[in-house]
């Protein structure tokens, strides 16, 4: 309960600081839209040269992309820890975090939230409704609940992977360029995994399970029955990876020895 009230207080402060630089915020939201458009453009251009991608049509691919945007928006609003090592370990900021009364990971989530990224979820929903309409998909009364469950699962998968990577910083404080590339790899979960060879399919399912943020959960709504098992595994995989990440974090914090100032 206390965490919840702290969260809303931080969110309020955050909005105030953001509204100070309004011009920048507008540009940032706009650049987010552009970012989402890039991938859409990729799909559209590619389907200008082919009609089916491993048996999936253009609208299905667009739908998967729309679904992906929703958990990704939640992830990028609250888990901006891609520069954790630079920002907190190298500069010694972690010292300050550890003196705070809430869990250190929660404190970082609070400090680094970027609420404007949530607009991405709106784009995602629009894209899904557009593609779903063209595909003639029907919505049952329980679909919104399943949608919510799968979205949370997907966001946890993303959070789990990126938190785990950030914890490397506790053991080694040197710079890595892994994080930005990881965002790229995350994109491959949006394509039907059967196009990849076994190794990459395995990696995307069980090691860096980005497929659970895109094609697997989306296939439930696309009524691709052969993927249903994977679709319903999404929340489980999300929870497992998130718990691994938190455990790694808790162990890592004990290894933290301060740096900088």
């Amino acid at each position: 309960m206390e965490y919840l009230s702290i969260f809303f207080q931080y969110a309020g402060q955050y909005l105030k600081t953001r509204l100070t630089y309004r011009a920048d915020m507008v540009v940032e939201i706009f650049s987010d839209f552009l970012f989402q458009a890039v991938n859409l453009v990729f799909i559209l251009v590619v389907f200008g040269h082919t009609t089916l991608l491993a048996g999936w049509s253009k609208d299905e691919m667009i739908f998967i992309y729309g679904f992906f945007l929703v958990p990704f928006a939640i992830f990028s609003s609250f888990f901006n820890i891609w520069d954790f090592t630079d920002r907190y370990i190298v500069k010694g900021e972690m010292d300050r975090i550890l003196t705070r009364p809430v869990h250190s990971l929660f404190q970082i989530v609070l400090e680094r939230m970027e609420l404007e990224s949530l607009f991405g979820a709106v784009t995602g929903l629009i894209v899904m409704f557009y593609a779903g309409g063209k595909l003639g998909l029907e919505i049952s009364w329980y679909d919104p609940f399943i949608f919510l469950l799968l979205v949370i699962g997907g966001a946890l998968v993303y959070a789990g992977i990126f938190i785990s990577l950030a914890t490397i910083g506790f053991w080694s404080d040197s710079r890595t360029d892994i994080m930005p590339m990881m965002y790229n790899i995350g994109n491959y979960g949006r394509y039907p995994v059967d196009i990849y060879n076994k190794i990459i399919k395995y990696v995307l399912t069980w090691i860096l399970p980005f497929a659970f943020v895109g094609v697997y959960p989306a296939s439930y709504f696309l009524e691709r029955k052969e993927w249903y098992t994977y679709a319903f595994l999404t929340p489980v995989v999300g929870l497992v990876f998130f718990m691994i990440a938190v455990t790694l974090w808790n162990v890592g914090v004990t290894k933290y020895r301060g740096a900088g100032n």
Partner: protein, 263 residues
């Protein structure tokens, strides 16, 4: 000249201190290129070629585009923005060398480091695993290296513009991100420009972005033939020269605009 070489050297050595991490980066890059390869195989789905590029050429294109990116890519726009926000830029501006040139040289030091320790070993690994075609023609390699030199200049000039914009906007993370998206899309990094519909290609041919990724990658894959190569290189050279103007104009305006808050 000597001082610039020294700047390049120092940045190079700074990067060298962190080199072990780059080996993990190579692995990630390889996975990235691998996934792209399978994605494109599925897109080709048995077709011989699309827009004049065979699947092998396409794989080579993707591989070289990403490896070349390691050379021309830098974060000097963020660095400039940071120095302006923290007020450090005032100190930098009284130093006995032009600030922008120094930033460019630092970027070059970083680029050379990544080219040697990242792109070259990365390309070797990728060439072993995936059907990448490396040209045996010495000319192709020479033109390619000239071309990525221009890529670096054009990309850096655009980064300088985005960085200097901080003087006017104070906080320009949004602009920097928007710039990145535009470059990803219009430079030909994720898709060769010849895949776009005609009207889009026409617009892009008037923009400098194709000089960043599309031109060097097409030269490398030998998608450009004969006079096309020279036309492409001239296009890059012209843009490298033209972009000097906005950089300097903006810089002169920015110096008048300078507000240092603390520092």
């Amino acid at each position: 000249m000597g001082k610039y070489i020294e700047m390049i050297r120092i940045r190079f050595l700074m990067m060298l201190a962190y080199r072990t991490n780059y080996y993990s980066g190579i692995l990630i890059y390889s996975i990235n290129i691998g996934a792209y390869y399978f994605l494109w195989s599925a897109i080709y789905g048995g077709k011989e070629n699309i827009q004049g590029l065979s699947i092998t050429q396409m794989t080579t294109y993707i591989a070289v585009a990403w490896m070349a990116r390691a050379f021309y890519f830098n974060n000097i726009d963020r660095e400039i923005a940071m120095e302006i926000k923290e007020g450090k830029v005032a100190i930098e501006m009284v130093r006995p060398y032009p600030y922008l040139n120094m930033k460019m040289m630092q970027g070059l030091g970083e680029g050379i480091f990544r080219l040697l320790f990242f792109s070259v070993p990365g390309m070797v690994i990728v060439a072993l695993v995936f059907p990448v075609e490396l040209s045996a023609n010495a000319g192709t390699w020479i033109y390619f290296f000239i071309s990525i030199g221009f890529s670096f200049i054009i990309n850096t000039q655009i980064n300088l513009l985005a960085g200097i914009a901080t003087f006017f906007l104070f906080n320009n993370d949004g602009l920097i991100r928007a710039k990145r998206v535009v470059i990803d899309l219009f430079s030909g990094l994720i898709l060769p420009l010849s895949f776009y519909p005609m009207w889009a290609q026409n617009i892009m041919s008037y923009l400098p972005f194709q000089g960043i990724s599309y031109i060097p990658s097409m030269i490398f894959t030998e998608g450009f033939k004969g006079s096309q190569v020279f036309e492409a290189l001239i296009n890059q050279a012209v843009w490298s020269a033209i972009l000097i103007i906005p950089v300097y104009v903006l810089w002169i305006l920015a110096k008048r605009q300078l507000v240092v808050q603390g520092g």
